[in-house]
Each structure stands twice: as structure tokens, then as C-alpha cells.
């Protein structure tokens, strides 16, 4: 059957706490198709009666929507469903066994008794031995743990000391022994030579005595795993030993050991710097789990293993745009399946998914969604707590969130209009003063001319007033700066601000509006709140004065007065300007003033409104 269907059903079954659809419907696995129909019919009518019941709503609605799926799975695809169930059940048991094995390997060693315990556990769970063996090999290779003869002593492979195969005959044993003793004479390090001589002598003593060799061979098989009874059929000869030793370095006790081809059983007595998945932070390592007597016992968690770590931890600063942002939190759980973690957050604008981390240990990715639209304030803090209920371990991530002030609706519209539009006509001046003494984050300053508009960085609108200063976290990443202002051509610029550097951008926007708006005849002009309009237009005075000073008529120092009749549209933007004074018709002056007023918005003048405003300025001295 389709695994997506299966997953969908599994999700549902976990919410209702049942293992299979058969169990959910109270049916046997070999039930007749008609009985399935009858049971489904009954359940459907139950669901219809309970779909508005808050306690059963989710369950009832799922059933109503997925009746077809359930029926198909239970009738047409029953075989596939049962097969899949069996396979997943086996996977689940294997996971339990792996937990057990990890507990056993926690010391970094695998003794004979440990191994027998694993096999016994596998039998208790109803898992085939080859599967168990495979799991053991895999985990041993992953963790770098290695087998040993007895828990108390280090196993030394005498064949390896002599650089021979286990099936070597007496003559080759002797000649290798002699040859290596001979070589030792040339070794300068006396102590090493001494140790190696001891090892060679021991090897020869054991292997030259048939009875002792027989006993050694038996012990070796157990440790290295090369014996037939527990090796899965069909696996290549050295497979069992191979993975265990893979993570090790060359053996110092056999410095002259020949190439691996001649020594199929690799050194096993080494203790590499091993990392068992992730070690709990606790200082003393606990002993491995004792071999259990039943499945129940195997499931009992070892508290030192139900640990976790999170990434990132501490405080994370987030600068949001308007859209919800997703932050990924990695939680790495170690140890046993029975130590789930829970996540808590007490902010309505932050949601965490999933809220419970259970199942086999490993790395989980938690999606933290921060929705700026639900935040009451522009900046706020949310604390996400991860708690292991078994061990009481707790870790927190603090989100320090800032979002931009809400932008007016009309401005949102503009962002969309310009994204892919052809960009041109804008001049950028870049100035890079020397970096300050203590370089931390770079500083980016954007000052738009005229002083208005939305500034976005990598798509997020961070400013709506034409000014932006960023001084945190800037360390050379690529930034896409966009500027939007109604009536002006949008501009985009890619920059990088290195740590410690200050970059100032002064984009000069090109006016695209012709400023020739005529209000529709059939719509009555709106009333304008003159005081509010005046206040808004007062803000244009410095910029307008600059225009008049530079482009206005008259001798330097002469006073120029300009009275403008202004028309605004529904959105409050000024879309037309006429100067009353006849002497002010110069194109450069007109353009300069138009840029100033076009960038000004009359707040809450939502309609076709007309107003007048007068600026005065002194003509600047000639250039």
C-alpha cells in the first residue's frame, strides 16, 4: 500500500491511542469484508453524531473525510496493510533492541556476556538473530566500541602479533616468530622492543601448544565474532569482525604487522577515543544496562541516558518582517525511547511544532513559528522551554523578537508591484569611512532622498520612513536592499557590510508620477482636516526651502514665496501640485518641489481632497 496512506492512518491512530485500524474498529485481522462494511457504517454514523462534539470533533471529522481510505485499506489492500504493520512492528522492536545495545556499549566495550545479553534480548522481543547481529555490528561501528575477551582483561590476538591468518600451520608460525624476533634487534626504542618481545614470546607459547591454541581459537571466535553459529548466513566472512574494528588506529602492539590483506582479523584490543552518540553531560558514566530477562525490563529507562541537548541555545535575536518566520530548533535526544521531551512556550504569537518529542532518540527538528502579526508590541521576548519529564533536565531558548511598525496598506501594494520590475534611473552614493576601533557588527545606514518610503532588506520591510540603521549581526553577508515609495521608481541594490565597517547608502529616487492627477468629476471632494494637513506639510518645509534656494528666481538673499495648490487621492498621496506664483515655472524647481510633496502623505485624508500650502525661503548665493 501507499506509505503516505499508511502514515496518515498511523497519525490518526496515535491520536486515538490505538495500534491498528483493526483494533480501533474492534475487528479481527481475518474478518469478512461484510463485517468491515458494517463496522465502518456504524462508526460513520457515530462520527456524524459526534462531529460537533468538542471531545471527538477531530476524530469524527477525520473519519468522515477518510472513510474511503479506511475502507480501501481494510478491504482491497488488507494484505498490504498487514504486511506494512508487521514491518513497522519489527522496526519498532529493532529500535528497542538498539536502545538496549547502546546501553550495553555505553562503556565502549563489548564483552562476551554483553553479547549474550543482546541475543537473549532479541529472542525476548521475537527478533531473528541475524537481525540482532546486524544491529549490533552497525552500532558498534558507529560508536567505535569494540569487543573484548572477558570484561576484566584486554583480548590480544596472537595471530595478529605474528602477522598470520588463523589457519597458519606450525612451520609458518615458527618462521614468523623467529623472523620478528630478529627484526626487534634493530629497534632502537628499548622499552618498545621489550614489550614486543614479551608479546611475541606469549604468542609463540600459546600457539605452539595444540591444546592452548585450541582454547585460544575458541575464545577468539567469541570475541571477534567469526564463529558460524551467530553469524548471519550470506554475509561475507570477515563482516562480523570488520565493522567493530573499523574505527581504530593501527595497533601499537604489532607495529610491524603486515598489510590488512594478510591480517583479516583486525586489531581489537585498542581503545579509540570513542564518542557514544552523544555523551550525557553527567561526569560519571553509568554501567551498561544489565541483561534483561524480558521485554518489559529492557524498556525500563536508564535515567542517565534520557538526556538531550538543544541547538541553538541561549538567546536568539530575530528581526521579523510582516510574514511569520520559522526558526528551527534542533533537539538531540540520547538514550532511551521512553524519555520523551516536551516543549513549552507561553506566547500566543509563537507556536511550536511538534510539542512532544518521543520515539527513538536522535535528532529532532522543531519548527518554531513566530507570527509578527499576533505580537502586541514591536519588540518582545519569548522563552521556549524543553523539558525531559523522565530526568527533569531542562533547557531554554530565548527569542528576542523585533518586528517593524505596520506599514500602510497602499505601501504593501507597492512592494509587490516592483519586485521584478526593471530597475533603473537611480543613483547610489557609497561612502566607506574607516572602521571604528572595536569591530563588532557592521553598520548599515540607508537614507532615502526624498526622506520617505519603505526600505526592505532581503525582502523584509524594516523601515517605512525612508531611514534605516542596522547595527547588529552584519558580518559580510549578502544583503539585498530595496527601496519603495509610491510614485517613484523602486530601486534595489546588493551590498555587503563587513564587520566593523559602516556603509551609508543614499539612494536618490526618480519621480515617475507625472503629478497630473485630476479627480473624478462625479465624486465629491473629501473634507480635509486642515490642521492635520498643515502639520504634515510643515515637515516638507526644509526640503522645499532647499529647492527654492537652489532653483528659485531672484538675487542671492532674496525672499521667495511659493504657494501650492495640492490634490490628494484616496490613499492620501499628493498627486498634483500647482504653483500660484507665475515666476516659479522653472522645470528644475517644479521637479524638485514635486519630489518633495509626492513623498508626503496626508494622514487620514482618504479622498480626493484639495489644500494649499505656502513655503518661503531665501535664494542661495550663486554657485
Amino acid at each position: 500500500m501507499d506509505s503516505r496512506d499508511f502514515d496518515e492512518i498511523e497519525r490518526f491512530l496515535t491520536t486515538v491511542g490505538k495500534a491498528t485500524l483493526f483494533e480501533y474498529l474492534g475487528l479481527g485481522e481475518d474478518v469478512a469484508d461484510e463485517a468491515v462494511d458494517a463496522a465502518l457504517q456504524k462508526r460513520r454514523s457515530w462520527a456524524q453524531g459526534q462531529q460537533s462534539n468538542p471531545k471527538y470533533r477531530t476524530e469524527a471529522i477525520w473519519l468522515i473525510k477518510n472513510m474511503g481510505l479506511v475502507k480501501r485499506v481494510l478491504v482491497q489492500e488488507r494484505g498490504g496493510y498487514l504486511g506494512e504493520l508487521q514491518q513497522r512492528e519489527q522496526g519498532r522492536k529493532l529500535q528497542i533492541l538498539k536502545q538496549y545495545i547502546l546501553g550495553t556499549l555505553a562503556e565502549g566495550r563489548l564483552s562476551r556476556r554483553d553479547k549474550a545479553g543482546v541475543m537473549q534480548q532479541a529472542r525476548a522481543l521475537g527478533l531473528a538473530e541475524p537481525l540482532a547481529q546486524q544491529a549490533l555490528d552497525e552500532l558498534a561501528a558507529q560508536t567505535g566500541a569494540q569487543a573484548e575477551g572477558e570484561p576484566s582483561e584486554v583480548f590480544v590476538d596472537h595471530y595478529l602479533t605474528l602477522g598470520l591468518r588463523p589457519d597458519a600451520d606450525y612451520n609458518s608460525l615458527y618462521s614468523s616468530y623467529r623472523q620478528r624476533l630478529e627484526q626487534l634487534r634493530h629497534t632502537l626504542d628499548r622499552q618498545l622492543a621489550e614489550e614486543q618481545r614479551d608479546a611475541l614470546e606469549l604468542a609463540w607459547r600459546v600457539l605452539s601448544d595444540p591444546a592452548a591454541r585450541e582454547a585460544f581459537d575458541q575464545q577468539r571466535r567469541l570475541v571477534v565474532g567469526g564463529a558460524a553459529p551467530i553469524r548471519p548466513a550470506g554475509l561475507p566472512e570477515p563482516a562480523a569482525a570488520g565493522p567493530i574494528a573499523r574505527a581504530t588506529e593501527p595497533a601499537p602492539r604489532a607495529p610491524s604487522a603486515p598489510a590488512p590483506a594478510e591480517a583479516p582479523s583486525a586489531p581489537v584490543e585498542l581503545r579509540p577515543k570513542l564518542a557514544l552518540v552523544e555523551r550525557p553531560a553527567e561526569p560519571e558514566a553509568r554501567p551498561p544496562l544489565p541483561p534483561p530477562t524480558s521485554e518489559r525490563e529492557a524498556l525500563r529507562p536508564n535515567p542517565s541516558l534520557g538526556r538531550f541537548s538543544i541547538e541553538p541555545a541561549g538567546t536568539l535575536a530575530l528581526q521579523l518582517g510582516k510574514k511569520p518566520q520559522v526558526v528551527e530548533l534542533k533537539v538531540r535526544r540520547v538514550g532511551t525511547e521512553a524519555a520523551p521531551c516536551k516543549l513549552f512556550v507561553e506566547r500566543a504569537w509563537v507556536s511550536v511544532e511538534p510539542r512532544t518529542l518521543s520515539g527513538p532518540p536522535g535528532e529532532h527538528t522543531v519548527q518554531i513559528t513566530v507570527d509578527p502579526s499576533k505580537m502586541e508590541r514591536e519588540s518582545a521576548v519569548a522563552i521556549i522551554t524543553v523539558l525531559s519529564e523522565l530526568t527533569g533536565q531542562r533547557a531554554t531558548l530565548t527569542l528576542d523578537v523585533k518586528r517593524p511598525a505596520p506599514a500602510p496598506v497602499a505601501a504593501i501594494l507597492m512592494v509587490a508591484m516592483a519586485l521584478l520590475a526593471v530597475i533603473g534611473g537611480a543613483a547610489w552614493w557609497l561612502s566607506r569611512p574607516p572602521p571604528p576601533a572595536a569591530p563588532q557588527s557592521g553598520v548599515l545606514i540607508v537614507e532615502v532622498d526624498p526622506a520617505a518610503g519603505e526600505i526592505s532588506v532581503n525582502g523584509d520591510i524594516l523601515s517605512t520612513n525612508g531611514r534605516l540603521r542596522l547595527d547588529q549581526g552584519l558580518r559580510g553577508q549578502a544583503l539585498k536592499i530595496g527601496v519603495q515609495l509610491d510614485g517613484f521608481a523602486p530601486v534595489q541594490e546588493a551590498v555587503q557590510v563587513q564587520a566593523g565597517e559602516t556603509l551609508t547608502l543614499r539612494p536618490v529616487l526618480e519621480l515617475t508620477d507625472k503629478m497630473d492627477f485630476i479627480p473624478p468629476r462625479d465624486e465629491a471632494p473629501a473634507l480635509i482636516d486642515e490642521a492635520k494637513a498643515r502639520a504634515a506639510l510643515d515637515a516638507t518645509a526644509p526640503a522645499a526651502a532647499a529647492c527654492l534656494a537652489q532653483h528659485g528666481p531672484g538675487e542671492p538673499g532674496a525672499t521667495i514665496t511659493a504657494t501650492a495648490t495640492l490634490l490628494s487621492t484616496h490613499e492620501g498621496w499628493i498627486r498634483s501640485m500647482k504653483l500660484r506664483e507665475p515666476g516659479l515655472g522653472r522645470a528644475a524647481l517644479q521637479t524638485c518641489l514635486r519630489r518633495v510633496v509626492r513623498a508626503t502623505r496626508l494622514p487620514f485624508v482618504n479622498g480626493y481632497a484639495q489644500t494649499t500650502y505656502t513655503w518661503t525661503a531665501q535664494k542661495a548665493p550663486g554657485r
Binding site: 457515530w46 459526534q50 506599514a407 465624486e523 482618504n606 479622498g607
Partner: protein
């Protein structure tokens, strides 16, 4: 239209989660409620199936909830537009559209009885926050019921029209706060001159009085479980009984400080006492959701509470004092609540909108034209044509005071979700390009400039998206068309794409030829989507034979 005497009648229908209502405009231009066959202005949106293809709708059905819960349909509006949702009664399965059609059929038949002539034209309302699939399903329900749905309009718009029509001429901003049985909408509207405009809107299609009921129900049921270890929610019948009791308790808590809820299950009895404070504590987060949404709407429009002239409370759930207290708290003053009936204004507004939009020949409109002409003759002593207060003085005695027909009104509905398309950026990564933003007045037209993504491509694929988001997974793809025969050009050649979206919910996509601007390739997507015509016809035929009483 034709010359039939009743051709001008447009039934305005408020198809609610818990209650539905209907209205028409009389010949003087006044909107009036149409009573159902039980003599009530509102009809519970509840259906009880008592046999194959036979059912009752309304009060009778509500009574059957307790007796026969598995054959009763309630709150079906919450499942409108969900493709997999079907309910089965007496071996037949029904889609949400068909179930809503049953309610509509009852309304239509009752209206015909009350008005004494056939009714086919209708305007149906939906929450402003409904997406296109839910709107489409609503229109389909109308069609199945044998109605000719002239348009689907937003509930807050309808409410504002009903409220604002006889106050036309001034300029005011109205916040429509609509908390019904199953949906929640906040809309900021502006009446200026003769035009109604939506400035911003937000809501939750799954928040309503039902959620308040559920909180109370869970509260009481859990007390019972604690006491007796039995849960009355576990069986449909006791559950429905308890639900009804909680519903009534909720309503009485709107006026009284305390309510009692008796529970009787499997031989155990308990009486739960609930005070208004307790109830408010149980539902504080729901109220908070309403508050946040209201605040958000004002923020979206860039306004504050001082810019709101009036708050229009619509929907039965706004009768709860906690809602009014919350709004007062937000505004920092006692919000002036418009004096209208929260249960009726949506239907009244729908009827008005139907005439204003679709019936220029309606007698009330003709009266208005005459009045305008008369005023012009009299030397234009009255100022603007849009101010209705004045013409009333001139009204001939025969006509009721306050109205001379309907003034010329411009009603603008807006898109509830952004419409866009999937495009490739310079690095050939997919992204969503929003072309028509949310809250754009309909009908609308927006153009975007794009470029050839590949050298020599000859076809353009437009995947139309609905909703906010940056990637395919965050939005809904509601249409997919390929426009062929483009002239092969190098990558980067600019082309222009135009979206035109009309009141009929049809989206026209034009692609302008890069060489000849007058040469247009056009595709049409019907966002009403859903059923194909034959299916619709079949459903309609089935419904016609259906017994609704």
C-alpha cells in the same frame, strides 16, 4: 430582464452557520425581512433527515437533535469548500454544498409562499474571510437549490449597506465587528459620499459562538467526569442534550449573572452552577483573539480607534457583554454601537446590494431617478445628488418618509486573499509573485512585468496562487493555464501579464505579445471552480425532487 411583474425581486440571503435569514427590497426601496413558514425572520440552519431524500429544516430539525443526533446536520458552513467532506443519510451521501442547498431550498420556498410569486434571483452573503473555494461552494449551493445567484457578497459589506444607506452623504468610518455562530470577521469600511469602500478586513472562518458553547460544555462535562467517572460527551444523545443546555445557559449569561446547567447521564445527576465571571474566564483567550484581530485590522489600515466613527456589532454572539467590554477597553472609551438588529442587518443589506447592483430598473431606483430629475428642474436647490436627508422633505405624501427610492450607490467589495502566480527569480528559483493584493477593490486589474525565463520559449505557464506566502507550500494553487504560441525570444525579453478579476469571480489572464502590444493571449479561470456543469445539473435535478419541509 423580462417583463414579468416580479422579475425585479432579488432575495438577499444570509446563509449563517447557526441561523439563516432573508430579505427583499420593497417598491419604495425599503429592505424588509421575509418571514419563513413558521412566521420567524430567522431560520436555524439545521437539517433533520427522517427518510431517504426527505428532511425538515429549521426549528423542527433543532428539536430532533437530541432525539436522533446522527441524522441531523448542523454547522455545515464550517465545512463548506472541503472536498472530502460528505455526510451520509439513509444510504445517500451529501456534500456540504448540497446540504446548504437544502437550507436554501427551504428559504426559497418559504419566500415564494410569503411573497406570493416565484423567486429565483438571489444574492448570498459569505464571511469576508472566506477563501475562493468556500465562496465557490456557497455559489454552488445556491445553484443546486435552483437559485440564480447574482453575486456572492461579504457579510460585513452587507451589514454596512443596511446600516449606512439612509445615512449616505456624509463621510464616516465604520468598524463592522461580526461574531456569529461559527465565523468571525472584522472589517473597517469607509462611507464617503456615495461610495462604500473596504479599507481593511481580517477574521477567522472558524471562530464563533459555537466555540463559546464548547468551552462551557467541556467545563461542565469535566466536572461530571470528576464526580462520577462518566463522560456525558461519550454518547451522541446525552452530548446533544448537554450541548443544548449549555447553549441556553450561555445565552442567559448574557443578561444574568448566573446560570444553572443540569446534567443527567446514566442515572447520575448533577447541577453545575456557572457565574458570568467563570464563563468569561473560560473564554478569555477567545475574546483575546477577537481583540487582536480588531487591532490588526486598524493597524492594517494605518488607523486608530479615534478614526472609527462607529462600531457596527453584527452576529448574535456580540450580545455577550464580554465582547462589548473588550471593545470598550480597546477603544479606551465607550464605543458607540450602531442601533441595528445584529441578526437581520446582513440579510437586509444583501437585498439592498442585489437591487443596487443588479436591478437598475427596480421601481425604487426609478423613483430615485425621478427625484433627481425633479430636483434638477427645481434649480438644484439641493446640493449633492448623494445626500438623501434632504430629498425626504420633498417626498410626495404617498411615499413613506425617509426614502425616495434608492440613491446611486457605489459598493465596492474587496479580495479576501492575495492572488498571484508562481514565477522564477533570476536564479531560477520558484517564488510567489503577488499580483492582486489582499483587500483590492473588485473588479480590478493589475499588470506585472516579467521576462522570458528561457531562450526561445514559446509557451507560458501561469499557475495562479491564492494566499500569503513565499513558496508553493504556503499558498494554494487555484488555477494552472498554459498560453501557447508565444514568439520565440531570448531569455530576458520583457512580457507583461495582466490579471483581471471580476465580480463574477472569473479571473482573466492576459499576456501581451512582446512585439505587438495590441496582440493579447487570454485565458480565463473560473474561481468558482468546483462542480462541472453536468454534475451541477444532476445535483439540481436531484434537489428539485427532494422533499424539504
Amino acid at each position: 430582464m423580462s417583463s414579468a411583474p416580479n422579475a425585479g425581486v432579488v432575495l438577499g440571503i444570509d446563509l449563517g452557520t447557526t441561523f439563516s435569514a432573508m430579505a427583499v427590497v420593497d417598491r419604495y426601496g425599503r429592505p424588509v425581512m421575509v418571514m419563513n413558514s413558521e412566521g420567524q425572520p430567522t431560520t436555524p440552519s439545521v437539517i433533520h433527515f427522517y427518510d431517504r431524500d426527505a428532511c425538515v429544516v429549521g426549528d423542527e430539525a433543532t428539536k430532533m437533535v437530541v432525539v436522533d443526533p446522527t441524522n441531523v446536520v448542523r454547522f455545515i458552513k464550517r465545512n463548506m469548500g472541503e472536498p472530502d467532506f460528505t455526510l451520509e443519510f439513509f444510504g445517500r451521501s451529501y456534500t456540504p454544498q448540497e446540504l446548504s442547498a437544502i437550507t436554501l431550498k427551504k428559504l426559497k420556498e418559504d419566500a415564494e409562499e410569503a411573497l406570493g410569486h416565484p423567486v429565483t434571483d438571489a444574492v448570498i452573503t459569505v464571511p469576508a474571510y472566506f477563501n475562493s473555494a468556500r465562496r465557490a461552494a456557497t455559489a454552488e449551493a445556491g445553484a443546486i437549490a435552483g437559485l440564480n445567484v447574482l453575486s456572492i457578497i461579504n457579510e460585513p459589506t452587507a451589514a454596512a449597506i443596511a446600516y449606512g444607506l439612509d445615512r449616505i452623504g456624509g463621510s464616516r468610518r465604520i468598524l463592522v465587528f461580526d461574531l456569529g455562530g461559527g465565523t468571525f470577521d472584522v472589517t473597517l469600511m469607509e462611507m464617503r459620499g456615495v461610495s462604500f469602500r473596504t479599507l481593511a478586513s481580517d477574521g477567522n472562518a472558524e471562530l464563533g459562538g459555537k466555540d463559546w458553547d464548547d468551552r462551557l460544555l467541556n467545563f461542565v462535562a469535566e466536572q461530571f467526569v470528576e464526580r462520577f467517572g462518566l463522560d456525558p460527551r461519550d454518547d451522541p444523545q446525552p452530548f446533544q442534550e448537554l450541548y443544548e443546555r449549555c447553549l441556553h445557559a450561555k445565552i442567559s449569561l448574557s443578561t444574568k449573572p448566573k446560570a444553572v446547567i443540569p446534567v443527567n447521564y446514566k442515572g447520575h445527576r448533577m447541577v453545575a452552577n456557572v457565574s458570568r465571571e467563570e464563563f468569561e474566564g473560560l473564554t478569555a483567550d477567545l475574546v483575546e483573539q477577537c481583540a487582536v484581530t480588531s487591532q490588526l485590522v486598524l493597524e492594517k489600515a494605518g488607523m486608530g480607534w479615534n478614526d472609527v466613527d462607529e462600531v457596527l456589532l453584527v452576529g448574535g454572539s456580540t450580545r455577550m457583554p464580554m465582547i462589548r467590554t473588550m471593545l470598550d477597553g480597546l477603544a479606551g472609551r465607550r464605543v458607540q454601537s450602531a442601533n441595528i438588529n445584529p441578526d437581520e442587518c446582513v440579510a437586509l443589506g444583501a437585498a439592498l446590494a442585489g437591487v443596487l447592483r443588479h436591478r437598475p430598473e427596480h421601481p425604487a431606483m426609478a423613483n430615485q431617478r425621478q427625484a433627481l430629475a425633479r430636483r434638477a428642474r427645481d434649480g438644484g436647490r439641493e446640493n449633492s445628488p448623494g445626500s438623501p436627508g434632504a430629498p425626504a422633505a420633498e417626498a410626495p405624501q404617498a411615499e413613506p418618509a425617509g426614502f425616495i427610492g434608492l440613491p446611486p450607490v457605489k459598493v465596492t467589495d474587496v479580495t479576501s486573499h492575495p492572488l498571484g502566480m508562481i514565477v522564477l527569480d533570476r536564479n531560477m528559483n520558484e517564488r510567489i509573485y503577488p499580483l492582486i493584493p489582499e483587500a483590492t477593490a473588485v473588479p480590478c486589474e493589475k499588470a506585472g512585468r516579467f521576462a522570458y525565463a528561457y531562450d526561445g520559449m514559446t509557451a507560458v505557464r501561469v499557475e495562479v496562487t491564492e494566499g500569503h506566502g513565499q513558496s508553493r507550500d504556503e499558498v494554494k494553487v487555484i488555477g494552472d493555464v498554459v498560453l501557447e504560441d508565444m514568439p520565440p525570444r531570448p531569455r530576458g525579453t520583457p512580457i507583461e501579464v495582466i490579471y483581471r478579476y471580476g465580480l463574477n469571480q472569473i479571473l482573466e489572464i492576459d499576456i501581451l505579445d512582446p512585439d505587438r502590444k495590441d496582440h493579447v493571449r487570454r485565458a480565463r479561470i473560473d474561481l468558482r471552480g468546483g462542480m462541472s456543469q453536468p454534475h451541477l445539473d444532476a445535483a439540481r435535478k436531484r434537489m428539485a425532487a427532494f422533499q424539504v419541509s
